[in-house]
Symmetry: C2
Subunit: 403 residues, 2 copies
């Protein structure tokens, strides 16, 4: 069997945790399996690097930021190789150049295009554990790129696909996927299985266990994912195409407090103007989530959308640069919002879900500001202060005990 | 003009120093020159990485040590690019993979074989300052290597040779090459010029300004070196094939306290045994300096040699592993020694130098324990406690004021 394991930054934050991970990998190796391990940067390394950069240049060039970021994972894999060596287990660390992890050229937000597997396979054949830097790649100019948030998960899934691995295990600080955040919703339950599509909608809705890009890739290449705890041996949640358990109406409730609502005010009410606004944002790789175009008042209208907090500065900047062409008067940003989503393949055939959701919010006297839906997801924007109360109310409504 | 500049770790130790270096580079760039800058790891970064590694594995594999070390210079070049960007100067950082800095495969002590200049030339043509990671390379397996002590100097010289640069400036915390260490010998003078050969003998004798490998390479490819201060604009010392100034009898006096004397005791007095001892050490890339083979007593003899303190553990280990074959009884290591050298092209034609040296030491009642000479160098081993007194006495003898 060939197993790809991915451990995040908190799992390798210090010597003791590095050895915990090394022991898990050694166990797998001693079963006779081939083991490929993807690691993120240790604990706060990435934050420290950001501080270092910002101190020198408040707006560092993205290409150089990637040059700086990529040292983080390189430190992790080198130290892990040393830990395994100390335990008598042969291991070798490889960075994005050594693997040849080809990506698109967008610094800070690149996408994997192609992975050369030759070096990894050679090392596995020599019976070494192969430690690969997550999150990073190289583009066609031979420059370092990074994959954006959750990038190490994507690295792991891509490697599992390229190597035709038997399993791809994502180790995190939670022991699986829950129906809601168990730190905030006491009645939340762990799911045994979940489909790619449900996981995707949960991921884009702010349930931070897996990044959506990694789930998309797993779905595309049929890589079975296992989300497990790096702290204990509990079974975790399997993410795959079809689940065998009897369906609940919804699979999970997610809350995302990282969203910001941007309102572009006083845009001329003329054809194609919304397209121009979103085209500007797309060219800067700003992902727009929920969109609300107001009805026009007079000859102007407002356009609202949500973006990740990380993209706010860039979104505002690119809009301002194009203010004339986009014809707006002003831009407002509201950070005091929360995105609440319910996700479940069951809702396709069950029109009562939306009604149940709005009833639960109504009963709690929580105002809904924007709404967005997909086939298996309903997302609403509420005031940030209402977020957790809303999540508990909705989770309660769908998972009421004894129902 | 194409200028290669190299700055060491102390020159980029913090934000202010990074900007000092950036300003110097910007000045050169604004003259219209092409500028390639080689940087070492910031301040104590390398020490911190060693601590990190040793904490995980007291004897980390060298291949993984190099994987870890190389992040140091990558941080430096990325931050320097950010500083230059902040000043409005276009710059790009490149690591050993991006340049394609090919070396031999010996981890921790690799030698440069070939540098691809294509990427650097392309970037210079785009009028960017090119920032290159010193000290590091890649071997034929596509693994990181490091060049050993003083490696960044070698990187700079090799780049200057490959790019046919007009000058290679080595910036350090001293403002040139002195006749002796000015911190220890108050009468020491700065040299305006020095030959490669003299510089080489000074370097191997512990005068830390330039590493011998970089001087060897400069000599081989005829690269004119300038040793300058990163702190002020004083002229520095030019290192080249022939010097124009009138020759003094000797060029400099150097003291090296980093040497250890190893004595292999009770070796069988049979042909080839010394060869076997030094062959063992050579295979582990341990550089042996002065060798003293004692006359035999009975059927055994002692063999003494000096090595760098860094190589001591390895030297002792490889000898112990081969103890049977090498027939010795025991090994002794004496760290309480100092190597004192006088260097000067003038001594070739002047047989009185040795006599003057020994007279100066005799007058100070300092015992000489081992002796080694080259055409332009005399080195003696004295007790460590006598080192600085010996250096001052010898410097005084050769540079007596009003003589």
């Amino acid at each position: 069997m060939l197993i790809v394991k991915k451990f995040g930054g908190t799992s390798v934050a210090d010597k003791q945790r590095i050895y915990n991970v090394a022991k898990r990998c050694a166990q797998e190796y001693k079963k006779g399996n081939d083991v490929v391990v993807v690691l993120s940067a240790m604990g706060k390394t990435t934050d420290d690097l950001v501080d270092l950069a910002r101190d020198v240049n408040p707006r560092p060039p993205k290409r150089e930021m990637d040059m700086l970021y990529t040292v983080g994972e390189q430190i992790s894999v080198a130290l892990m190789a040393m830990a395994l060596d100390n335990m008598g287990i042969p291991a070798v660390s490889l960075n994005a150049f050594q693997v040849a992890m080809h990506t698109t050229s967008a610094h800070g937000n690149a996408r994997l295009k192609r992975i050369d597997t030759e070096r990894i396979i050679t090392e596995l054949e020599r019976r070494r554990i192969v430690l690969v830097t997550g999150f990073q790649g190289i583009n066609q100019f031979n420059d370092y790129t990074t994959l954006g948030r959750g990038g190490s998960d994507t690295t792991a899934v891509a490697l599992a696909a390229a190597l035709h691995a038997d399993a791809c295990e994502i180790y995190t600080d939670v022991d699986g996927v829950y129906t809601a955040d168990p730190r905030k919703v006491p009645t939340a339950r762990k799911l045994k299985e979940i489909t790619y599509d449900e996981m995707l909608d949960l991921a884009t809705s702010g349930a931070g266990v897996l990044h959506n890009r990694s789930v998309e890739m797993a779905k595309k290449y049929g890589v079975t994912l296992v989300v497990r705890s790096s702290l204990n041996d509990s079974e975790g949640t399997v993410v795959k195409e079809e689940v065998s358990v009897e369906r609940m109406l919804i699979t999970g409730v997610a809350l995302d407090k990282n969203a910001v609502r941007v309102t572009v005010q006083g845009v001329k009410d003329e054809p194609g103007i919304a397209f121009k606004v979103f085209n500007c944002l797309a060219q800067k790789n700003v992902n727009v989530d929920i969109i609300l175009q107001s009805v026009s008042h007079g000859d102007t209208q407002d356009i609202s959308f949500t973006v990740d907090h990380d993209n706010l500065d860039e979104a505002v900047e690119v809009l301002r640069e194009n203010q004339k062409r986009l014809t707006f008067h002003s831009i407002q940003a509201d950070t005091e919002i929360a995105k609440l989503s319910v996700v479940g393949a069951g809702m396709v055939s069950n029109p009562g879900v939306a009604a149940k959701l709005f009833e639960a919010l109504y009963n709690e006297n929580i105002n809904v500001e924007m709404i967005s839906t997909s086939e298996i997801r309903i997302t609403v924007i509420v005031a940030a202060k209402d977020g957790e109360r809303a999540m508990n109310a909705v989770h309660e409504a769908f998972y009421r005990p004894n129902e």
